[in-house]
């Protein structure tokens, strides 16, 4: 492996780990706020206990997200210095605003935690949760704006390899930023919602309790709303790609030949040598219809672009997996919402447990499609990864060290979570309320 391959592998693994924690930082403030709102409106101490416990879990996710984010921030500068030179001149603003949003999220989490006894009215305390509800997703919004810029860069000119005439605000609002932000936020809420629902379902399987029932209801509800929004924004993303990154769309769909009434190929793997998708099911005209609203419309295939610019064709598989997993989440979430009689069935709870990893895999696959689909570019049409990589020959050794650490850390997190899960106890106030509820019932 050369320096470039090591740099890509290192960045990919670090980001793959980071986004797992980051989605909780994005979505949990809303869940905490919603639980507190339900606690006040329904006078339900379970929801109050839920809000408090989630806040402590959120704290850990936030801090670990900040730690892995620190590694990402430093890695970007030391592994991709030429890229960060462009970033600094053109698209530094969202990074800076993100840091501000980050501070606000941390500060208002503290205000919320320390403010429990300070407000006469419970509504006053609930209001202090709202800044976090905004600043959590704001960090995802801002970092996705940078990613949207990498996909459709604008707001600057290059003269002799140097950035001139930068327009930072234009660069921030590149075409497609809104669609990409919408899709990322929707998938973050899907992943966090189903991830937490899985945890609660596992607890409920072990010790059935009204506390866990509420937890599943709230988290699966958020996950379902996220899944519906993911489908809508995903469709918009496809239409956007057809106009702005047609090469990425062609690779995602395994479409080799430019054609009218282009088929949608579901499943199969791409055989680059024979320029065909093996084992896929072709649905005639559907890709044209999805991308352009007309089943006869021509769609540009890979043959419209020089092969040296083709992204890895395996992204077709990742794309299909993302869609399949997303569809599965949608179905399971809808069944949970529409068929209450299934909610206590053990097999359905086990299914919900399985949806946790599925939701995170869907998100990771979607992210891989976005990033691999932009190869060989780091900034589409402007700078390739090969131009952006560091000239430092020590990178492979550093990458091995950091990857080994990340592997150990990952194992440590899994092991620690399992230990904590085994020792977890029901909340005192929730348990008390449970017996009251039993008596009242």
């Amino acid at each position: 492996m050369d320096v470039l391959a090591w740099g890509r592998l290192l960045t990919a693994v670090t980001l793959a780990v980071h986004i797992v924690f980051a989605v909780f930082g994005v979505a949990m403030p809303l869940l905490i706020s919603a639980a507190e709102l339900l606690a006040i409106r329904r006078r339900d101490p379970f929801y109050r206990a839920l809000a408090r416990r989630w806040a402590h879990g959120f704290l850990v996710a936030f801090a670990v997200g900040a730690a892995t984010g620190t590694i990402v921030a430093a890695e970007l500068s030391v592994v991709w210095p030429r890229f960060m030179q462009v970033v600094g001149n053109v698209i530094a603003l969202p990074f800076l605003i993100e840091v501000i949003a980050f501070f606000l999220e941390a500060i208002f989490l503290g205000v919320w935690l320390y403010g429990w006894e300070r407000f006469r009215s419970p509504w006053g305390h609930w209001l202090t949760s709202l800044p976090m509800v905004v600043s959590g997703p704001a960090s995802a919004l801002l970092i996705t704006i940078v990613n949207a810029f990498m996909n459709a860069p604008g707001g600057f000119r290059l003269a002799g390899g140097r950035v001139v005439a930068a327009q930072p605000w234009t660069a921030m609002f590149s075409p497609g930023w809104g669609i990409e932000v919408g899709h990322v936020l929707a998938s973050a809420f899907t992943a966090a919602g189903f991830g937490l629902a899985a945890w609660a379902a596992l607890s409920h399987l072990r010790t059935p309790h009204p506390y866990f029932r509420r937890q599943i209801g709230l988290t699966a509800g958020v996950g379902l709303v996220g899944a519906v929004a993911s489908v809508i924004t995903g469709d918009l993303s496809g239409k956007f790609l057809a106009h702005v990154q047609p090469l990425k769309l062609a690779a995602m769909e395994g479409l080799f030949r430019t054609q009218a009434a282009a088929p949608l190929t579901v499943g199969g793997y791409v055989d680059a040598a024979h320029r065909a998708v093996v084992g896929g099911i072709q649905l005639p005209g559907l890709l044209s219809w999805l991308a352009y609203g007309s089943s006869a419309h021509p769609v540009r295939g890979l043959d419209a672009f020089p092969p040296r610019l083709w992204p890895p064709l395996a992204i077709h598989v990742f794309f299909d997996l993302m869609v399949a997993f997303g569809g599965l989440l949608l179905v399971v979430g809808a069944v949970y919402a529409l068929v209450p009689s299934l909610r206590e069935r053990r097999w359905f709870l086990a299914l919900l447990v399985a949806m946790g990893p599925v939701a995170f895999l869907a998100m990771e696959f979607g992210w891989m499609v976005d990033e691999l689909g932009r190869q060989p570019y780091i900034v589409y049409g402007v700078m390739t990864v090969g131009q952006a990589i560091t000239a430092n020959p020590d990178l492979p050794a550093v990458a091995v060290l950091v990857l080994a650490l990340l592997a150990a850390a990952g194992a440590g997190v899994v092991w620690g979570l399992m230990r904590i899960f085994r020792s977890v106890a029901l909340p005192e106030d929730g348990a008390a309320a449970g017996s009251e509820e039993a008596m009242a019932g």
């Binding site: 670990v64 430093a74 030391v78 030179q85 600094g88 603003l93 320390y114 930072p168 650490l405």
Partner: protein, 340 residues
């Protein structure tokens, strides 16, 4: 209106100061925790865990702010400094990663190694700054030569330079001294006289080592950066005086003022170094002006920073009022509380 290269550089040094101090307190508290666990001092261990956690949650955000500010204001320096800092950065971040993980799992040490996580938290915190302080020597041009695609760095020369070594000693002493003072500050109102005594006694020699190694670092620093003729020596003198005051205040068991003196000393020292370095970013290789960002970006960053400060600072003040009120309430509620 927009910041000039020199003003932006001094602002970044201030952010670096905030990070360094928060990290010193955070990492130092971890080391104190390890010591308390090994000695079975549950009172000190409880203090370390209760008051270090809020610092731990935000400390990394200051690092990210510094990195983002550096990239935003001086993008021309990223290829050079980024290439040179690859190895030191990876070593330091590796230590931070180990520490973060161990901190999260701190309550769940495995039965076959009951003190595993205290050891990991304590030691990784103590070694984390060692690779990072090479940045100061790097910016003074130590071990740096022009290389392909940026600056090439002679790691041995960088790590073994007297300036780096003195700064490493300073960093470790600062962690222990400031971490102990920070915890002692909370120990008094929260009615732990024994812990208070132990912590102030531990802080005094550590702060003395910090002051001495900082003074010693001025010798190699002066060889690299001749500032004696300029007004900068006044700032260095102020920094030295503040460090000596911090030692005296710690000895007199005044943790709050002692911590403030140590912070003031750190700020004066860092600003003095930065001031003496103008107009260079990396002495002899890169100037601030040549690496400065696009003028439009400089203006936009200045505006966003201004708005950010207006929003964040009052919120942070409000939070600290809540936290202090909480600490006071805890002290009042505690049985056997002594009037201080």
């Amino acid at each position: 209106m927009s910041l000039t290269p020199s003003a932006a550089f001094l602002l970044l040094v201030f952010v670096l100061f905030l990070y360094a101090m928060a990290a010193a307190i955070d990492f130092g508290s971890g080391a104190v925790w390890l010591w308390a666990e090994l000695r079975g001092r549950t009172d000190v261990a409880a203090l370390a865990m209760r008051y270090a956690s809020p610092v731990w949650e935000v400390v990394n955000v200051f690092f990210i702010l510094f990195a983002v500010g550096m990239v935003g204001f001086f993008p021309g320096a990223v290829p050079a400094v980024g290439t040179a800092m690859l190895v030191p950065g990876a070593l330091g971040l590796g230590a931070i990663a180990v520490r973060s993980l161990a901190f999260v799992l701190r309550g769940a040490s495995p039965p076959w190694a009951p003190r595993l996580f205290p050891w990991l938290v304590g030691i990784s915190g103590l070694v984390a700054p060692l690779p990072f302080v090479t940045l100061f020597a790097l910016l003074e041009g130590v071990g740096v030569r022009p290389g392909s695609g940026g600056l090439a760095v002679d790691l041995a020369a960088l790590f073994l330079h007297p300036l780096t070594l003195f700064f490493m000693l300073t960093a470790v002493a600062a962690e222990i001294g400031m971490g102990a003072l920070f915890l002692a500050f909370y120990a008094r109102p929260a009615r732990e006289p024994w812990a208070f005594d132990t912590l102030t006694r531990a802080a005094t020699p550590a702060l003395a080592v910090m002051a001495l190694s900082l003074l010693a670092a001025l010798i190699p620093l002066h060889a690299l950066s001749p500032w004696a003729g300029s007004g900068v020596w006044l700032l260095f003198a102020l920094a030295a005086a503040a460090q000596v005051a911090a030692v005296a205040l710690a000895h007199a068991r005044r943790p709050g003022p002692g911590l403030l003196a140590a912070l003031a000393g750190g700020l004066a020292g860092l600003v003095a170094m930065a001031w003496a370095q103008l107009p260079w970013l990396v002495r002899g290789h890169l100037t601030l002006a040549a690496t400065f960002t696009d003028p439009a970006m400089a203006g936009a960053l200045t505006a966003v920073l201004g708005v950010g400060v207006v929003i964040v600072v009052p919120s942070a003040v409000y939070l600290s009022v809540l936290v202090l009120a909480d600490a006071r309430r805890a002290a009042r509620a505690a049985p056997g509380d002594r009037a201080a």
